[in-house]
Symmetry: C2
Subunit: 418 residues, 2 copies
């Protein structure tokens, strides 16, 4: 089946094979040129974005899109500045490709190496937010991967112009392979991407729970991401009231729509200050839901489900059962309970006495964030650029054959050289 | 949907949460007891296996199973000895759980750790070979994972007795959770396993290409494995004839049914000793196929597809296009061509001047082999016990909130402590 997308994916795969061996210096030179091109084209970008915003305003007025989508669509000078800083940040990142993880002499003159390499072709499907174009393009170049981008239809013109500027810059580097950065525009093309398992190695969805769930259910390609962010805070028997107040308000109110915002608070029935705590939450504009229809729900606004538990064990059980394995926290002064909670909660992030909102690649010091994953394989939690790499083994010898080792004529000595 | 398998999977998930925190000493004590139980029950195991063999012999005579399946089914004292040694090997392995990969002070009293943890519940679907039961059980215990095993129907009684002995041993350890090692027996149950994506985190198929392909096409759970093993050897212009002879014969004949056996030889048209080389291969009983119907085929017997190429680039192109990204080798004395080949061939193993048959966890010194993967995420090539782990992030603080960092009141200093 030679659809447009399958051809794009095949070309991207070939491009990725060439890009895989590009040296760090060249990649950084290219990234710097992209940064400069964005600065030079600032007016053009803002102009086209203003057009997209105008159309989006109509959609907003007709309630065809949400205010949150409308807001994320907008680029201004500050936002552009952020995008440019982000590219500078990617230039500063250590090259994740070519790291030697193992160098081992299996026997004399028989050297095994395990070396990080790019994954290949990555499909990124996102909503609104044209800044994803520049961020993912930069991360792809740095990590040696080709990408196929599909953004929100509301930002279609901004997205087209942004990638146009980047690809025009790349044409100035004859050593840079063609077809590394690709864009598609329609839902039908997304459907084809999800089927292109021969050539696309990883799909990263960035957007609503609905989008992520849809993608996970419609592809056999590995998906890096998270659908739900149902985060918990458990207030232990001897928690500090002041600490609980401050951490829960931050975890709920600092950005209620974030995936790492808290959705359910579990309170130990022996905690003495429950009424004070709940009053404080209400005074901060949080609606408390004592008997929710389900505990497996992400409000995304200033609402909190509440539940009383009798022990740290019950809290752990609740979190592992109803949570989304994203980020969960215990507030306690009991070292044993903290240790138990950290060990037994099966989540990407398990916290003690600190806001769940810290779950973020930049805050973790990863230098960049590709996304947050609740997967149990490959990458979990906030994923930095190393999440876009895998490894290969190389083995160099002088004609060694397995028959000699099977017969006992020779034997392995497995000596690590690094 | 509460099918038998979905209940088994849920119980396994709960068991895995408990097993995840078990200390190395206890796990090794349990493994030693299993080793001893296998020794003590040697006669019982051989007896039941003899019954399975008797039934299998009828199937073999009626050509309902292949000789290879029949042979792999058989346990004798030597094979049992190997199984026992394998468990001893797993006891000696470093515990892959609890390794601190990152310990970073994000700010004063705000400590991030990235720690290896078990994946959770692993489904292992294999054909014949009852030794997989003991091997995977030992690896699961060591890595803190629960498993659901499904073996070949020809070995059903041997498999049942083997896991029975192991689980009876586990009952002697009250601290060891129930339901860690589970077994199912029918194809219908496999179908249910493939759908249990809520509770099963990884599927490992071990068997024919057909089995692996079927599984990859029928589940959304991550699959660790490889369907095809279409390995190549490229003979470069200036290759040593003697080295080429010896390496190709080993890579094809030492065990032709292995996934890392060579299937296609590409010969540079400027190589001067092609006729000598081909005569040598024929004299070793290898059937040479000059114009195969497809280059994307795994013979699994003493047959080799041949193709003439004009350059290392054409060889690389051929391998990336027709290969299965398993293990591919260049035979050359040209350092530049070797380097190009190592860099640009997109396979789990890329070799120079050495037999492809070295692609194996034990030969690589991984201590054990869970399987060989051609995936581009999580684990690639021969996978050791660390392929059964992922990581979690823990963050411990003293009430820090994100609002303070967003407002600029505080800032991160990201100091690595290890």
């Amino acid at each position: 089946m030679n659809t447009t997308v399958s051809i794009i994916a095949k070309q991207a795969k070939q491009a990725s094979n060439k890009l895989a061996t590009m040296d760090t210096k060249t990649k950084n030179k290219v990234l710097l040129a992209i940064r400069n091109a964005l600065i030079a084209n600032q007016e053009k970008i803002l102009e086209i974005n203003a057009q997209d915003m105008k159309e989006a305003l109509k959609l907003l007025e007709n309630k065809e899109i949400k205010p949150s989508v409308y807001n994320r669509l907008k680029l201004d000078e500050n936002k552009l500045q952020d995008m440019i800083h982000e590219i500078e940040g990617v230039i500063m990142l250590e090259d994740p490709v070519g790291k030697v993880l193992i160098e081992r002499e299996l026997d004399e003159d028989l050297i095994l190496k395990k070396i990080t390499v790019p994954i290949g072709v990555i499909g990124v499907i996102f909503e609104a937010r044209p800044d994803v174009i520049t961020q993912i393009s930069a991360l792809a170049i740095k990590s040696g991967n080709a990408v196929i981008l599909k953004g929100g239809k509301e930002a279609i013109n901004t997205n087209r112009v942004l990638l146009g500027i980047i690809n025009a810059t790349l044409k100035g580097f004859p050593e840079f392979p063609e077809n590394v950065l690709n864009q598609v525009y329609t839902h039908a093309e997304v459907e084809e991407m999800l089927k292109a398992e021969e050539d696309i190695d990883l799909i990263i969805p960035r957007g609503s729970n609905h989008l992520v769930k849809y993608i996970k259910e419609h592809t056999r390609i590995s998906v890096l991401g998270h659908a739900d962010g149902i985060c918990h805070i458990y207030v232990d028997e001897n928690a500090s009231l002041e600490l609980a107040k401050s951490v829960i308000v931050d975890a709920k109110c600092q950005y209620p729509a974030a995936c790492n915002a808290v959705e359910t608070v579990l309170i130990n029935d022996k905690f003495k200050w429950t009424i004070d705590l709940l009053n404080h939450l209400k005074n901060n504009g949080i609606e408390l839901i004592e008997k929710p229809e389900t505990y497996a729900y992400e409000y995304g606004e200033k609402k909190l489900a509440l539940r009383t538990v009798v022990s740290v064990d019950e809290a752990i059980y609740h979190i592992n059962k109803f949570g989304s394995h994203h980020t969960d926290c215990i507030i306690s002064r009991d070292e044993n309970n903290i240790k138990k909670f950290m060990n037994e909660v099966d989540s990407a992030g398990v916290y003690a006495n600190v806001s769940t909102r810290f779950a973020d690649g930049y805050r973790y010091g990863l230098g960049a964030e590709v996304g947050i994953s609740t997967n149990k394989t490959h990458a979990r939690g906030p994923v930095g650029v190393e999440g876009l790499t895998i490894y290969k083994y190389t083995l160099e010898g002088k004609g060694q054959i397995v028959a000699d080792y099977a017969s006992g004529k020779k034997s392995f000595h497995h000596k690590d050289l690094i």
